[in-house]
Subunit: 224 residues, 2 copies
């Protein structure tokens, strides 16, 4: 069975790819490029992870999301807005792109139907995104209903294997599956060494710390 | 209240815009450009209709859907596939873009949330698209649930005023609302005079005929 995996290059989507790989079948990896500050670094992570899992050019695709800039309203796509670096605050982060996940999921399902793939793996994580309405489990349940009704054969399913996991458990699951965490990238701010301060870095570091481990990625405060 | 209207330039979306206009509030028109054969003609229709309803540059937006070509799988976006001209056949037309409506609706809702608009008018029509799974009423009900769950305030609604209307009634409703049908464009094939043979032309012509009217658009068989 063919399956599409949304692969941002971060650790959640990496663990999703590993789950899809462990479950067997033919994997097609989809990366969405927002043209944001860390775009080149994330695309490199995507490529390195695809290489690791033996996905050739026919099994990986990068789609430019540049058209989102025409919609606007987010610090991830609007250079005039600074990425929120104030820590893990409650509420909607400034990096929120309205309804972004629905656009992403729709694209992934569209590709899946083109490929005759039956599963779409999505690395959404609730702990990662407490302020994002479209990262809640009930959102994915509703989206699966739309996928069932809106596709030709109605037999494509969205799978969210890390949705309810704490970052600690994402790291532990990744270790069990032997994922190459050193090839992933999570930082929203830097491209060389992880900043260690943005929301995404803080959650990632916490995940490793709670497993008694050290993130294998070079960190900013480790010096050059 | 602000409202977004998806305006392809065809008669269904034109009548939707007229419904939104009649209901009052501030209208923002969104046109999606697929770069298909009739793209320039449809964009011209969009502009003419916006002018007619007094929508200035700040109240209209054209978003390029060129990224859909990266996904593939449809005659509307893939020049190598011919548009189905064999009449109103049952089943899925060759112009089907997998899960396209979900991509379109997600973009429109994203813009609506950015604008703080509360309604998104969609000119989907079931008679127009009997073979499209994502034109069924139950699909829109499911999508509205996703919109409620996936947006910040959960108070944006998709409205589909012509979904269950036959083309005859779309024409009649448009006449009652005084819409400029001569400024719309429906043909999938031609850019100067409507071909009168593609699925979209046949449905449109039928709608006028059943009202005892003649389509105000120049037709191919009327000569030059």
């Amino acid at each position: 069975m063919r399956k599409v995996v949304l692969l941002s290059g971060g650790m959640d989507s990496l663990v999703c790819l590993a789950e899809a790989h462990a479950a067997g079948g033919e994997i097609y990896a989809l990366h969405l490029d927002y043209g944001q500050k860390t775009s080149v670094r994330e695309t490199a992570a995507f490529g390195a992870i695809c290489d690791h899992y033996g996905l050739d050019a026919g099994h990986r695709k990068i789609v430019s999301m540049a058209f989102l800039r025409q919609i606007g309203g987010s610090s991830l796509t609007d250079d005039a807005m600074a990425v929120n670096q104030a820590g893990l605050k409650p509420g909607i982060p400034s990096s929120y792109v309205p309804f972004r996940n629905s656009i992403i999921l729709s694209l992934a399902v569209s590709w899946a139907e083109t490929l005759d793939a039956k599963e779409v793996y999505v690395g959404a994580n609730f702990e990662d995104s407490p302020g994002y309405p479209d990262c809640r489990p009930e959102y994915y349940e509703a989206m699966n209903r739309v996928v069932a009704l809106g596709t030709r054969d109605g037999d494509i399913r969205l799978l969210t294997p890390v949705l309810r996991l704490h970052k600690k458990d994402v790291v532990a699951r990744g270790r069990a599956l032997g994922v190459p965490f050193e090839k992933s990238w999570s930082c929203y701010v830097a491209n060389d060494r992880a900043c260690g301060k943005c929301d995404s870095c803080l959650l990632r570091l916490k995940g490793f710390q709670e497993n008694g481990e050290v993130d294998p990625l070079p960190q900013h405060d480790q010096g050059v």
